[in-house]
């Protein structure tokens, strides 16, 4: 027998076989469905707007009375705390080395000569510190608050047109485009859904290694590359479909749908690649679980990092999923265009290729020792 085999036919045969097996693994089907429902539900339960209360730290001298008066009528949602020095205020804002337990959202530092200068009708500069999380409206409120103080101080309506203020934004400057919490968490859900797939995807290969069926497949005219291509296509398809379904459920395709789809597709390839490495590297369930976790956790970090204000640390920026998270955040929350996200998509693609290359190598080695 010398039948000619075509690569696509072999790859398609493996995919078909996997789909047939998958449809009989009730466990995976159920887990997948539950996962999507869970994410969807959790997302809708999250707050859709920012209604947190902020603590305002204030540093001033000689204006206690004025502040007592000014603060008396303050609305809920704002609490004021006095600080002795600018350094203490900055430390409480989390600008020093150590992170305070509960960093302040806003800080106002009045210069020592504020009183005299305002009284003399001279411009003065008040430093306003704002966390990147603080909504724009609140920032404006702070500016009016400074004005109100000046008014109370001089007894005249606006002795200075606008006391100069210098706004120092803590963390990544997103002033003017503050987004609600749910908007921010959107990419986290898509990425989490994808990353969690890593483990399920690893089973595509791990199951065949544990049952040794992979040797039977490879000791036929099919090659390691066919096997990986089939698993890669199926895995990517499954992960991508899940992520898209999830984003449809939570309604996240308002901005830049094409960029989002492209990012999710590459993200699906990425987690599939890592899943295949994990599945190829482990020799039993526990080992595969170990490798799966070892990949899942770092892949999740960039998604979690965007929840915190500020620029991500360098080590977060080099994680494989950083490009994915950035693309999704910028496109969905800030409506970024292709030129903005292309560098991120590029690094993501490079990571995908690397993951598959490593997977190919690891699987080849593994099969030899079975």
């Amino acid at each position: 027998m010398n039948a000619q085999v075509s690569r696509p036919a072999v790859i398609w045969a493996i995919i078909r076989k996997d789909l047939l097996e998958f449809s009989r693994e009730r466990f995976f089907v159920v887990i997948t469905a539950i996962g999507i429902l869970f994410y969807g539900a959790a997302f809708w339960l999250l707050p859709s707007s920012v209604d947190e209360s902020f603590t305002v730290g204030i540093r001033q001298t000689g204006m206690d009375d004025i502040f007592a008066a000014a603060m008396g009528g303050q609305s809920a949602g704002l609490a004021f705390v006095q600080f002795e020095s600018v350094a203490a205020l900055e430390a409480a804002l989390g600008m020093g080395g150590a992170e305070p337990d509960e960093p302040l959202g806003i800080g106002l530092a009045f210069p020592d000569d504020f009183l005299q200068r305002v009284a003399a009708g001279q411009p003065s500069t008040v430093r306003v510190y704002v966390d990147a999380n603080v909504p724009t409206e609140l920032q404006r409120a702070m500016a009016s608050f400074v004005r109100e103080i000046a008014y109370a101080l001089s007894g005249n309506p606006l002795p200075v047109a606008d006391p100069g203020r210098e706004v120092i934004v803590l963390g990544e400057d997103r002033v003017g485009d503050q987004v609600p919490f749910r908007e921010k968490i959107r990419p986290l859900f898509a990425v989490l859904a994808l990353v969690i797939e890593t483990f399920a995807l690893s089973s595509l290969v791990a199951a065949e290694i544990q049952a040794r069926t992979v040797t039977a497949v490879l000791v036929s005219p099919s090659r390691v590359s066919d096997f990986l291509a089939a698993k890669g296509i199926l895995g990517t398809g499954m992960a991508f479909a899940q992520a898209v379904l999830l984003l449809l459920i939570i309604g996240s395709f308002a901005n830049q749908p094409l960029i989002l789809l492209c990012a999710l597709l590459l993200g699906a390839v990425l987690v599939t690649g890592f899943g295949l490495i994990a599945g190829s590297a482990g020799k039993d369930f526990i080992e595969t679980l170990f490798y799966g976790m070892a990949f899942m956790i770092p892949l999740m970090i960039p998604a979690i990092a965007v929840l915190f204000p500020g620029t991500s640390a360098t080590w977060v920026r080099v994680l494989p999923s950083y490009g994915l998270v950035q693309t999704v955040v910028q496109a969905s929350a800030y409506n970024a265009g292709w030129p903005d996200v292309l560098p991120h998509l590029g690094t993501l693609l490079a990571w995908c290729l690397a993951a598959f290359a490593v997977g190919w190598f690891v699987l080849k080695r593994k099969v030899e020792t079975l």
């Binding site: 040794r212 040797t215 039977a216 036929s220 030899e368």
Partner: protein, 287 residues
């Protein structure tokens, strides 16, 4: 096409420090059945993995059907059938689905699994999931699978291991049929009788080396002893005496025992491959 189905020259493979296959050379002719005998860990399965392209030898050369395994793996793998030591079937698929899947990998057009399943006595279970198959049924399906591409060479790694006599017999019959068809067969087994009956030649492998390779007849003639085993009751106790059949005084010894009082039984014993193996390697087959 070359005369030889398999040619192995100076092949070695070590797992770390363990020399599983140590400078082995042999050849198998087209249509020949070579029995591969040796205790556990002798290196039989490793040799098969090297010959079938699962692993690359660390040194030496292997030609299968005249082609270099390192260079023409896919082509070779399309023309051989391998029955693995471990039963690597898809348990969630039916017998028929298992065969259909592999037929696609081999690029066999219009494949019909039923004749093969009939051959191994599984036709009535074609649609059942392999998960529910007994060990013997799974093994028969393994054998059916390695026949689907009508291979020029069959590699069978302990195909009858742990099976009941009926399943073993079914598999032996298939081996004979395949041999009659003209396939070369490399068969590993721990069953000396099976090796004796099925093989044209046998190789004794021990510690990764081929101790000897010849026809069962020659091996038994050269290394075995035909004997007569006699049991005699003497002074109320049963005594056993073994008389070699090709000793100088065989006739006298036999006369003496046959005439003895209290003679219970006389058995002639042929030389067995097992005895040959023990005398050659100093160890038994079951490690």
């Amino acid at each position: 096409m070359s005369e030889e189905a398999i040619r192995v020259e100076g092949v070695s493979y070590a797992y770390g420090d363990v020399k599983a296959v140590d400078n082995v050379s042999f050849a198998v002719a087209q249509g020949e059945v070579l029995g591969f005998l040796g205790p556990n860990g002798a290196g039989k399965s490793t040799t098969i993995k090297l010959l079938t392209g699962q692993m690359r030898p660390q040194s030496g050369e292997i030609a299968i059907l005249g082609m270099d395994v390192a260079k023409e793996r896919d082509k070779i793998q399309g023309r051989i059938g391998v029955c693995f030591e471990e039963k690597n079937l898809y348990l969630n698929l039916s017998a028929r689905e298992n065969l259909n899947f592999f037929a696609r990998l081999f690029g066999i057009a219009d494949f019909d699994p039923m004749p093969l399943l009939r051959r191994v006595g599984l036709a009535d279970r074609a649609g059942d999931r392999v998960k529910g198959f007994s060990k013997g049924m799974q093994q028969r399906l393994m054998v059916a699978r390695c026949l689907m591409n009508t291979p020029d060479i069959l590699f069978l790694d302990e195909p009858t291991d742990g099976l009941d006599p009926v399943s073993s017999q079914a598999i032996r019959r298939v081996i004979e049929e395949e041999s009659a068809r003209g396939a070369a067969i490399l068969l590993t087994t721990h069953d000396m009788d099976e090796a004796d009956k099925l093989s044209d030649r046998v190789a004794f492998i021990n510690d990764g080396k081929i101790a000897v390779l010849d026809t069962p007849e020659n091996l038994k003639l050269a290394h075995g002893q035909r004997t007569v085993r006699v049991r005699i009751r003497e002074h109320g106790e049963v005594r056993e005496q073994v008389v070699p059949l090709d000793a100088a005084d065989t006739g006298d010894q036999l006369k003496a025992v046959v005439g003895a009082e209290g003679l219970l039984t006389i058995h002639t014993e042929e030389a067995t491959l097992e005895a040959v193996f023990i005398s050659l390697t100093g160890r038994g087959l079951q490690a």
